[in-house]
């Protein structure tokens, strides 16, 4: 394992948790659909995508535990942190809403993940590069799936067009956060571990614009973007997610399952 040496363990752990938390929370949200999808094929697809995301989170958490060196495992990270210690993107924790809202949330993150994992698969940190290479195959499929639905819904019926446009307008306030950077990102970039997130935006824009055009949807504008997820400033939704996610470990602490 070649971990870049010019970054401290705490920073790398934090970075891995940012990645893992977004995967887990988004996977958790998708799993809420299971059994309630619009058609059986989508129950299968959404469960499959949730499985991929939860799988990514497990790899990232396990690696974070190794880097941190304090004996924490994947379940410690998932079940024993409260809201302000979570570092996921705000977009990931937004409620499922209707199928249009879920697919818009998914598509915006999928497009980001494809660019992010493409870059991370070339990380100087070989362990992270391996996780990213595996994840890249998955998120590429996810983007195809969600992108196709954006097109079907946008260029489907009047109702589906209206719903997906509204979902797009509602979720656009969370887009800027995807590309936001702070001191931790600067250190990660300097160590060659991960990309400058701002640099991912042009490719993201062009993919999103291409799909929106085919879907006959209008790219929204927003004056008041939201952010803060990566540093623990979340929406009220995350606490409710955690009260489900962590119920067993909180109610029955220290037991084996």
């Amino acid at each position: 394992m070649t971990t870049a040496t010019d970054i401290d363990r705490k920073s790398l752990t934090e970075y891995l948790l940012r990645l893992g938390d977004t995967s887990l929370i988004l996977g958790h949200r998708l799993s809420e659909w299971c059994g309630h999808g619009p058609v059986l094929e989508e129950d299968i697809a959404m469960s499959n995508i949730a499985l991929d995301l939860i799988g990514q989170a497990r790899l990232l958490y396990t690696y974070a535990g190794t880097v941190e060196g304090e004996g924490r495992d994947e379940d410690d990270f998932a079940f024993k942190r409260d809201v302000t210690d979570w570092k996921n993107l705000l977009l990931a924790e937004q409620p499922n809403g209707d199928f249009a809202a879920t697919m818009v949330r998914q598509f915006l993150i999928d497009c980001f993940n494809v660019e992010l994992y493409t870059s991370l698969s070339k990380s100087t940190d070989t362990e992270l590069a391996a996780i990213a290479a595996k994840s890249l195959k998955e998120v590429t499929y996810h983007r195809r799936h969600s992108g196709e639905w954006i097109i079907r819904m946008g260029d489907g019926t009047d109702e589906s067009h209206r719903r997906v446009q509204r979902a797009l307008d509602d979720h656009w306030i969370f887009v800027d956060e995807l590309f936001e950077t702070d001191a931790l990102d600067a250190a990660i970039v300097a160590a060659g571990i991960g990309p400058d997130l701002k640099s991912l935006r042009p490719a993201w824009d062009s993919m999103v614009d291409r799909v929106l055009a085919e879907a006959t949807l209008t790219r929204p504008q927003t004056d008041f973007p939201r952010s803060g997820g990566r540093t623990g400033s979340h929406s009220e939704y995350l606490g409710f997610i955690l009260s489900d996610l962590q119920f067993m470990q909180r109610a029955y602490p220290g037991m084996e399952w």
Partner: protein, 327 residues
């Protein structure tokens, strides 16, 4: 074969067809969708396969309850994979139904308007994590006993669907048993959780095999047509014989004071099943029967615009391709 004209289920009579059909059954060969088959055979299969498909779909709900609350990430992933398999099983089964001439939408509508049934077991609630273990161990365990038999069913598409399903179900059963094992070997609280789950799920699991042979409406005809190869009571006994020792290994008590090994029969004797409860639950009177069906109806109704959008988009694409080709 002239007596067949008057036989129930053979109303759509065809001499050559009947001869071939009966020959296939006699030779233990499979009846395929293009073969002539009695209307009654077709009807019985549609009834049974659709009921089975609906059970897979409704069965996603009690387990889905615990996806967001699974105690570890590994358990969460395994449970997701299991429920995903069940959705896949439903797809194979709806496809098998389609080979008999009923569309998936028609089959699903029959569930929603109450004409079609699903296994009564899913009208019981999953109250604790141990119930997820109990469903895998007992409910999937009972399902396997039934499904292994159905791999030998005379209708080809159903038998083949069952072979695929059985492979996955045996994995489900093992993971369920493993969940319960972990609880049974755990703290007193965990052990209590496991025992209570066994108490809740034992009798409903025995009911999954259906009424006693003497009471079964479709049993004889189904056996004659080699759809069903073993009787309800026979399958139930097999399940009890298989499961009681598993409970003993875990140190859990099967909630039946009459349960005891019968040396002479070489089987366990067990107490009387509450058939009033069975009938009530089957008709939707179970603890969460109304909720289950409402959840399915809601998913279908809420998804209508999505399905319509997909169709409308496919139609637009087709029209555009056609227009482009015409140029």
């Amino acid at each position: 074969m002239s007596d067949l004209r008057d036989k129930k289920g053979y109303e759509n009579w065809d001499e050559a067809g009947v001869a071939r059909f009966e020959a296939l059954l006699a030779a233990e060969e499979k009846v395929e969708p293009r073969d002539w088959m009695p209307d009654g055979y077709r009807k019985l299969l549609v009834r049974q396969i659709s009921q089975h498909a609906h059970s897979e779909v409704v069965g996603m709900l009690p387990e889905g309850n615990w996806l967001t609350r699974a105690p570890t990430l590994k358990r969460k992933a395994v449970l997701l994979a299991k429920i995903q398999d069940e959705a896949g099983h439903a797809l194979y089964l709806y496809s098998a139904c389609e080979t008999l001439g009923t569309t998936r939408d028609e089959t699903i509508e029959a569930l929603h308007d109450g004409r079609a049934k699903y296994s009564s077991i899913f009208n019981y609630p999953t109250l604790t994590w141990a119930d997820i273990g109990a469903i895998g161990w007992l409910v999937d365990g009972a399902a396997i006993v039934n499904q292994v038999m159905l791999c030998r069913c005379s209708y080809g598409p159903y038998a083949r669907a069952m072979e695929r399903i059985c492979k996955e179900e045996s994995f489900h059963q093992r993971q369920g048993y493993e969940i319960v094992t972990k609880l049974a070997q755990g703290t007193p609280e965990q052990k209590k959780m496991a025992q209570e789950a066994l108490n809740r799920w034992w009798w409903p699991s025995l009911m999954m095999f259906g009424p006693h042979d003497s009471e079964s409406t479709h049993g004889n005809q189904s056996t004659e047509w080699k759809i069903k190869r073993r009787s309800n009571d026979d399958l139930r006994q097999h399940f009890v014989d298989m499961t009681v020792p598993q409970a003993e290994i875990l140190g859990l008590t099967v909630p039946d004071p009459d349960l005891k090994w019968n040396e002479e029969r070489g089987h366990y004797d067990f107490g009387p099943i509450d058939w009033d409860e069975f009938k009530r639950v089957l008709k939707g009177g179970g603890p969460v029967g109304r909720e289950r069906l409402n959840a399915r109806r809601k998913a279908w109704e809420d998804g209508a615009w999505v399905r319509e959008a997909a169709l409308a988009h496919a139609e637009k694409r087709r029209a555009r391709r056609q227009a482009a080709a015409a140029e």
